[in-house]
Each structure stands twice: as structure tokens, then as C-alpha cells.
């Protein structure tokens, strides 16, 4: 439980340092922000890590440092936005 709170806080703060906007602008924007795709993705990857191997401080730190970088630089290449 503490690991999840710690990981969410670290990824939110790192997203803020990487100059992503803090909150989504409206309900239809695809722009990655520090709150929306970052924090749920961190929680999901931490859950996968806890199921596959035991969760300790090192794993929590490395996942929550990697996820904001992934969201900022790689997400739009992995899932490109197709406008209707």
C-alpha cells in the first residue's frame, strides 16, 4: 500500500518536472499530462510487478521513474492519434 502511494507521488512530481501540464485540458484531449495517463499507468505497472516478483523500494523507484519518461516521449509513437 505504501509503495503504491510513494510510486504515484514520485511519478506525478517527475511529470511536473518534465513540464507536462498538470491536469487534462478537457475531456477529449489526447495530450499526456502529469495526472492522467501517468498515475494510473504507474499503479498498473506496480501491480504487474508485485504479481510477477516481490515489490521492494528499488523496483518501485525504477518503475515510477520510467513511466513519466515513457508517457512523455514514447506513448504517441506507440499509439498514434487517429482523428475521426
Amino acid at each position: 500500500m505504501e509503495m503504491y502511494v510513494l510510486g504515484a507521488l514520485i511519478s506525478f512530481i517527475l511529470g511536473w518536472i518534465l513540464r507536462m501540464p498538470l491536469f487534462p485540458r478537457d475531456k477529449f484531449s489526447f495530450e499526456p499530462t502529469a495526472l492522467f495517463p501517468t498515475v494510473p499507468l504507474t499503479l498498473g505497472f506496480l501491480a504487474v510487478a508485485e504479481l510477477l516478483l516481490k515489490l521492494n523500494l528499488f523496483v518501485t523507484f525504477s518503475i515510477s521513474l520510467a513511466v513519466p519518461l515513457f508517457v512523455k516521449y514514447l506513448l504517441n509513437n506507440l499509439c498514434p492519434v487517429v482523428e475521426a
Partner: protein
């Protein structure tokens, strides 16, 4: 047990309808095919905004899918971690279907919270929530399209999402 399934049905219905309406599903079609489904529901004398919401539920995993998959993974993993894994999978499914993914992820996380509270304080099992969610999507998508689209449009008007 029947009473518990009915309570789970009410919780799931309110959860996914309120999140979907608030996050803008009845406002506009998200992808191309939604327009045709809404048009056919309108030709069946339903409401066009309810048709948009039903088409959006068909065409990308939204809060309804988040609710079902979070309860299914909670049951399969027998711990709240399943809900978080479901939120991750629903987010990537949403992005592949060219949807921003706010509704699905929020739905999965809130459902995990509800199941955790209900199972630790009231003794509910996660399979009641699976049955309740299947019943809820049955009332929206398969029971009576004219009535359900008008009901969804009325709820959206009452919450102030569409005029």
C-alpha cells in the same frame, strides 16, 4: 444472495452510467462508425444522443468495460491488484481504438474501490459484481433500444452534459 446481486447491479449501473455521461460519451461520436449506429437507433424512433452513447460503448472499451474487467480480474487474482491490471489493459485498449481513455481507466479504478469496500465491510463476493455488470449492460444495450436511448438522453440532460 439474490439481494446481494441486486445491490451489485444497482452499484454497477450507477457507476458506469454516471462516469460515461460525465466524461462526454453522449456528446459526440468518438470514431467514424458510431454515427451509423446512432443513426439507426434514431430511425428506430430513439434519441440521437443516447444512440451516440450506445455506439461509443460498442466501439471502444469505456467505463462499462472497465467495470466488468475490474470485477473479473478482482475475482481471478482474488486481490485488488487485479483492478489495477485491468485499468492498465483498458487504457491501452482505449488508445488502440483512438479514444483518450479517461472513462475506461476511471471506471476500472472506482470499481476496484467499490468492490474493496463492499467485500471487506459487507461480505460481498466479486462474482456478484460480475453478474451485476452483465445485467446492467443487458438493460442498456439489449433490452429495448428505444427506451434505453431515451433514458440515457434524459439522464444526460439532467446532469447538464447536453442541452
Amino acid at each position: 444472495m439474490i439481494l446481494q446481486i441486486i445491490v451489485a447491479f444497482i452499484v454497477c449501473w450507477l457507476n458506469f452510467v454516471i462516469i460515461d455521461v460525465f466524461l462526454g460519451l453522449p456528446e459526440r461520436p468518438g470514431v467514424r462508425g458510431v454515427r451509423q449506429i446512432a443513426q439507426s437507433i434514431k430511425e428506430y424512433r430513439g434519441h440521437i444522443n443516447g444512440g451516440y452513447m450506445m455506439g461509443n460503448i460498442v466501439c471502444s472499451p469505456d467505463a462499462s468495460a472497465g467495470t466488468l474487467l475490474a470485477s473479473a480480474c478482482y475475482y481471478a487474482f482474488s486481490s485488488p491488484l487485479g483492478g489495477l491490471v485491468a485499468a492498465l489493459a483498458v487504457f491501452f485498449g482505449n488508445r488502440i481504438c483512438s479514444d483518450p481513455g479517461y472513462a475506461g481507466t476511471t471506471g476500472a479504478l472506482t470499481t476496484t474501490l467499490w468492490i474493496y469496500l463492499f467485500s471487506s465491510y459487507l461480505g460481498f463476493q466479486p462474482e456478484y459484481f460480475i453478474a451485476g455488470m452483465v445485467l446492467a449492460i443487458f438493460t442498456i444495450q439489449a433490452l429495448h433500444h428505444r427506451f434505453s436511448s431515451k433514458l440515457l438522453a434524459r439522464i444526460a440532460k439532467k446532469l447538464g452534459v447536453i442541452e
